[in-house]
């Protein structure tokens, strides 16, 4: 069981309110990702849930019971830190055993769980090494191992992949997702990387300056961003945002269209522009196109093997059904 409910939770450091009153419901077994730019309060929110910070107001319930005043150890939550926070003087085995030793789990059971975790995480050969002798990915797995042997109600991850190189990050992303499928335990995952959020989450919570901007499944957020911030944050490359005549024509102050919803046309079409820089990724090509009458270039996705050169004039057809319209406050117009 791992249902976490936040009711009107606030947090201030001195005079600075980092988390304004916030409500959030995390259901049992869900993979929830907190995503937002650096410094928006993701870690603080996670630490509030963990009990490593005291709330300034509001209540936190775990499985329906008030946990606001409970010390971290009593919340049956396990946390994986960004720095891994392994105990450097203990072997991998001892690191993984530590929470069980503190809880007084008997030796045989400890051994069983360690071996189980080690085989799930491919750590069997490294059990007698110290963290200093492991690679970044292995340390990450030890940190996860230390969390899973506790059999917690929920896992908390704070940017666990940000210290890994790109290839390893993709691999670990898969492993964590698989772990979630296997354990079916609630996971709360913090990241500033929207790709991680999109690929892993059941539910994404987009945060800005401690505010929840939107909560929803990755596709909800992709299809119907509630405001300009979410529109710009979710999706890669970013959504093109245009103001002026094109937006006004559609009854909005700002209009947004994703690069993948613009088609390059051979003949005269709605928009005309000149090709700027392009990025060839093999499967896709992304062009920066300078639209006539707009100072900032927009990004357009085309087929991987299209050949266009800087300075070429091209015609573009926006997919009218995929255009997002926003009002003066930056809110979505349905």
């Amino acid at each position: 069981m791992g249902r976490i409910t936040l009711k009107q939770v606030t947090k201030s450091f001195g005079d600075v309110e980092v988390i304004p009153p916030l409500d959030l419901e995390i259901n049992d077994g869900e993979f929830v990702v907190f995503v937002g730019p650096s410094g928006c309060g993701k870690s603080t929110l996670l630490r509030l849930i963990a009990g490593l910070e005291d709330t300034s107001g509001g209540t936190i319930e775990i499985d329906g019971k008030d946990a606001t005043g409970l010390p971290p150890a009593k919340r049956s939550l396990a946390m994986v830190f960004q720095s891994y926070a392994l105990y450097p003087h203990m072997t991998v085995r001892k690191n993984i055993a530590f929470p069980m030793r503190m809880a007084g789990v008997d030796k045989a059971e400890q051994k069983r769980r360690i071996e189980n975790a080690a085989s799930v995480l491919n750590l069997t050969d490294y059990l007698d090494r110290r963290p200093g002798q492991l690679s970044g990915g292995q340390r990450q797995r030890v940190a996860i191992g230390r969390a899973i042997v506790r059999e917690p109600a929920a896992f908390l991850f704070d940017e666990p992949l940000s210290n890994l190189d790109a290839a390893l990050r993709v691999g670990m992303r898969m492993e964590i997702s698989e772990l979630h499928t296997r354990l079916k335990t609630t996971m709360v995952y913090v990241t500033h990387d929207q790709v991680e959020a999109m690929t892993m989450a059941d539910k994404i919570v987009v945060l800005r300056a401690g505010h929840i901007e939107q909560v929803g499944s990755p596709l909800d957020l992709y299809r119907e961003p509630r405001n300009l911030f979410v529109a710009g944050f979710i999706g890669s490359p970013k959504m093109n945002l245009l103001q002026g005549s094109e937006a006004e024509k559609r009854g909005a102050v700002t209009m947004g269209i994703r690069p993948e919803h613009i088609t390059v046309s051979a003949t005269e079409a709605a928009w005309r522009g000149t090709v700027g820089v392009s990025e060839h990724l093999g499967s896709d090509t992304f062009f920066l196109v300078n639209l006539e009458g707009y100072p900032d270039p927009i990004t357009v996705r085309a087929d991987g093997e299209v050949s266009l050169h800087p300075g070429d004039t091209i015609h573009l057809i926006p997919d009218e059904s995929r255009i997002h319209r926003f009002d003066a406050q930056g809110l979505r117009i349905p």
């Binding site: 946390m79 830190f81 230390r146």
Partner: protein
């Protein structure tokens, strides 16, 4: 220093310093060894020739020798124990955020700036004086008979004085070590269900082990040769005669340079035994 040329240039430039250091070390050492084999009584005839191992046997068979070794070890051990235990506690306290942190830290470090002679005299006259000392007043306040610190509890007194001097050093080194502990490790341990004392035992103390080792080794080197504190308090009486003090008495009070030099060689041997012993127990902390 990758190339052959830069390596030899480096050697050339290091040479004067190395030669100077070697001379600095070797000349006194060789002179000590030389005098330890001579019968040398400056006020009673000067250098009276070769003495063989006479000085060595006389020094070691003197009734004062073994008690002095014991006293030395008790003082070194006692001071090490007190400074490290209190040093760890103080370091942990000073690491807590508190009002006036900077001032408190300077106050804690202050005793280190007081010269040994001065601090020993201050302790002797202000705290331990059986009539006017602060301790005497304190004891009287509680209706107890004041202790004659420097005669009844002479060793304890010396250990107290020297510990007071060295506590700042231990605290300072341990404080920097405490501050370098990754706070996420402590938080992880907290989440793993370790209460404060277990966090201290399993996380903080292992983290401090290297700093403790360094404090142990450096302090031992200096503590084996403490002198001023004994000279100005008990003058070596009441069982506070350390090996260093015994050597001093042999050379200056008995005016026997040869005997004192032999004692100096014994002191070197003792220091080495202690060092090897310490390295054995704590050395393994240094290589991980």
């Amino acid at each position: 220093m990758a190339t052959q040329q830069s390596r030899s240039a480096a050697r050339m430039m290091l040479a004067p310093a190395v030669v100077l250091l070697l001379a600095w070390m070797l000349v006194p050492l060789i002179m000590t060894l030389w005098f330890s084999f001579r019968k040398f009584l400056p006020l009673r005839g000067g250098d009276l020739g070769f003495a063989g191992f006479d000085n060595y046997t006389r020094f070691i068979s003197s009734s004062a020798f073994w008690p002095s070794v014991q006293t030395t070890l008790i003082i070194v051990g006692g001071v090490l124990l007190i400074t490290i235990v209190l040093g760890v506690i103080l370091a942990l306290l000073l690491d807590q955020p508190m009002w006036g942190q900077g001032v408190v830290r300077i106050l804690v470090i202050a005793p280190f700036f007081v010269m040994p002679t001065v601090s020993a005299l201050v302790w002797k006259n202000m705290f331990m004086d059986p009539v006017n000392g602060l301790f005497a007043h304190l004891w009287k306040f509680f209706g107890a008979e004041p202790i004659q610190w420097l005669s009844q509890e002479s060793l304890t007194s010396i250990v107290m004085i020297v510990s007071w001097q060295w506590l700042p050093f231990a605290t300072l080194i341990l404080l920097t070590a405490v501050q370098s502990l990754d706070s996420e490790q402590l938080e992880a341990a907290e989440m793993d269900g370790a209460p404060y004392l277990k966090r201290f035992w399993y996380i903080v103390l292992p983290h401090l082990s290297r700093a403790i080792t360094i404090v142990l080794l450096i302090q031992t080197i200096f503590l084996l040769s403490i002198f001023a504190e004994i000279f100005v308090t008990t003058g070596g009486a009441f069982g506070t005669k350390t090996l260093t003090y015994l050597i001093f008495q042999r050379v200056l009070e008995s005016q026997n340079v040869g005997l004192g030099s032999a004692g100096g060689v014994y002191a070197i041997i003792l220091a080495n035994i202690v060092a090897i012993f310490l390295m054995r127990i704590v050395g393994k902390n240094l290589d991980t």
